[in-house]
């Protein structure tokens, strides 16, 4: 768990880019400080030996039959009515009524 290293300013910026977040210059040091404080707390998990322990992704996973085997009862693959397209498009910031409109995709 990258002990002691801590998250650098550059890593904060890299993660922000991955997350499509644009941080203002004064947000970066604050986020760096907070992430390191939280990660320091999270490092306590290293006290535990978890070798051989199954990771739990869903509640159903540990319960097995108790919650009905996850994914065992897939819904029927049948056509059913969906939301009215006009109502959905009406919620978009910019639309021609049929498609979402966005700024140009390719940067020059």
């Amino acid at each position: 768990m990258a002990e002691g290293a801590g998250v650098s300013m550059d890593e904060v910026l890299r993660v922000a880019e991955l997350a499509n977040l644009e941080l203002t210059p004064d947000e970066v040091p604050r986020m760096q400080r907070d992430l390191n404080a939280i990660l320091g707390h999270i490092a306590e998990l290293n006290e535990l030996d978890t070798s051989g322990v199954e990771p739990m992704a869903q509640v159903g996973g540990v319960l097995g039959a108790e919650i009905g085997a996850a994914g065992a009862d897939l819904r029927q693959d049948a056509v059913r009515p969906s939301l009215d397209r006009r109502a959905v498009m009406a919620a978009a910031p910019e639309t021609d009524g049929r498609f979402f409109k966005v700024p140009k995709v390719i940067e020059r």
């Binding site: 998990l45 322990v53 990771p55 869903q58 009406a90």
Partner: protein, 484 residues
């Protein structure tokens, strides 16, 4: 409508002593007088759905006038946390990024409440995307605790707890990802229930962390919580994680005595950091259960101290994925170009998310992205998932020996507005007694069990096995009865 129960409203409407319309109007009058800056400035409601509420009330009153049998929530005024969508009302999730979004459909929980006769008053304030323990992370301003207006109501369902505590609504819906129902219920002195994962459909819930998110009710008493669960529970074809386990007779279960039930008291929940007044009140509630014939024994949930760090890895990882959908394309807010006409798609995403998300949401997206990023996945995310297994096994082992677990909900009573905003770790540790049950998927309920010398409410939680809400509610009722 302060102090009215579901049964009082329903029988009042059935007998003609009241109308659903007059009950709703009285709620709105109270909101107008007290929820805004002209009153106590509780700020629990973000939007009122008066037209829809009064149309539903008229329907119920017409049924009552014809002398027809009334559904279980007939005329009952209910508020909805603003992370659940309701057609005709704006849905913000407490975030600027959804400002102006009008959802074109109803959440399943909303549909079920209305089908059961509930009158939906409007949308309730909450922490942005349900991320917070104090309701101070709402982009629309904090909620005040009706029991002490200089204090927080808890979070993230702060508005839901406050609206019931203030008597604006007889019941409300909240959501819990790490304690967001039980903690505000404890802070505001009301009942808040976390149903088992999969018991209540999440269709129409704006997702925060999908392996954790749950929908549950706030009420003034345990019986009303049982009534609400009976309406909300059940399989929903639109939510693949909802369970087809039969829905119990939750109100009927309350008639069964608790004598002979084995109650576990986890020693890890009474350690350092627990406020002495809360400890005393919870111990008194446990004494009451003993007096009612329960067999009380000390148990151990040995991994408890790892619940908070585990939660903040898993919840933020899932949030970073879930919140990627908010990018200015499909819903609500899009940032205007700051660079003249030269805006690109990726620039628009970043500007929208930068302006639309608040600091806590950004913090959690960054943390979640970090723990999932190349090189860190196994060390953080997989590790946390493994510890989640250990935490769940703690509960499964305990439930081999006891039918229910009783413990404090929070280490402290409601704190002052602004007191913890600058220290995220300190704020996260507010969840120390609530997150483990959220991670394990078991059911839980917070019940008021007294107050501090400063008159701040104290809550005790009852936890039970997956899908054993009946036993949980029986014990909760015994705790409540012991307070009288």
């Amino acid at each position: 409508m302060g102090g009215m129960t579901i049964e009082e409203v329903r029988t009042g409407v059935a007998s003609g002593a009241a109308t659903a319309a007059s009950v709703a109007e009285a709620c709105y009058a109270r909101v107008a007088a007290e929820d805004g800056p002209g009153g106590k400035d509780i700020h629990s409601f973000l939007a009122l759905s008066k037209e829809r509420a009064l149309a539903q009330a008229a329907k119920i009153d017409a049924l009552a006038a014809k002398g027809e049998a009334l559904p279980p929530l007939a005329g009952v005024p209910v508020g909805i946390k603003d992370v659940l969508v309701m057609q005709g009302s704006p849905a913000t999730a407490g975030s600027k990024i959804l400002q102006g979004y009008m959802p074109p459909y109803d959440a399943m929980a909303v549909t079920r409440l209305e089908a059961a006769g509930a009158v939906l008053l409007g949308k309730l304030n909450c922490d942005e995307f349900a991320m917070g323990s104090s309701n101070e992370n709402s982009a629309y301003g904090p909620v005040r605790n009706p029991r002490a207006v200089d204090r927080v109501p808890g979070g993230s369902s702060g508005g839901s707890a406050a609206a019931v505590a203030a008597g604006f609504a007889v019941a409300s819906l909240g959501t819990d990802t790490g304690g967001s129902i039980r903690q505000p219920a404890a802070f505001c002195g009301v009942v808040g229930m976390l149903p088992t994962y999969g018991r209540v459909s999440r269709y129409g819930l704006i997702a925060f962390a999908s392996s954790l998110d749950r929908v549950g009710p706030f009420t003034t008493n345990v019986r009303d919580a049982a009534t609400m669960l009976g309406v909300l529970a059940g399989k929903d074809a639109l939510d693949a994680t909802s369970s087809d386990k039969p829905v119990g007779d939750y109100v009927g279960a309350l008639a069964k005595p608790v004598r002979g039930l084995r109650i576990g008291v986890p020693s890890e929940y009474f350690g350092e950091g627990l406020d002495p007044e809360i400890r005393a009140a919870v111990e008194k509630a446990i004494d009451g259960l003993r007096a009612a014939g329960c067999v009380v024994k000390t148990i151990s949930l040995p991994h408890t101290k790892y619940a908070v760090p585990t939660y903040y890895v898993i919840a933020t990882a899932e949030a970073s994925a879930n919140l990627s959908r908010f990018d200015g394309v499909r819903y609500g807010f899009r940032a205007g170009s700051r660079s003249g006409g030269g805006q690109t798609l990726s620039g628009m995403y970043r500007e929208t998310r930068d302006e639309g998300f608040g600091a806590e949401v950004k913090r959690r997206i960054l943390l979640g992205t970090y723990v999932l990023s190349a090189g860190y996945y196994d060390a953080y995310y997989r590790k946390a998932q493994q510890v989640r297994t250990l935490l769940t096994r703690d509960f499964l082992a305990a439930f081999a020996e006891v039918e229910a677990i009783v413990a404090p909900v929070t280490p402290t009573p409601a704190f002052k507005l602004g007191e913890k905003v600058d220290d995220p770790v300190k704020m996260y540790l507010e969840d120390i007694y609530s997150v483990a049950a959220s991670l394990a998927g078991i059911c839980g309920i917070s019940v008021p069990c007294g107050e501090t010398k400063e008159k701040l409410p104290i809550g005790v939680q009852v936890l039970a096995r997956h899908f054993d809400e009946e036993t949980m509610l029986r014990v909760a009722l015994a705790v409540e009865t012991g307070q009288a």
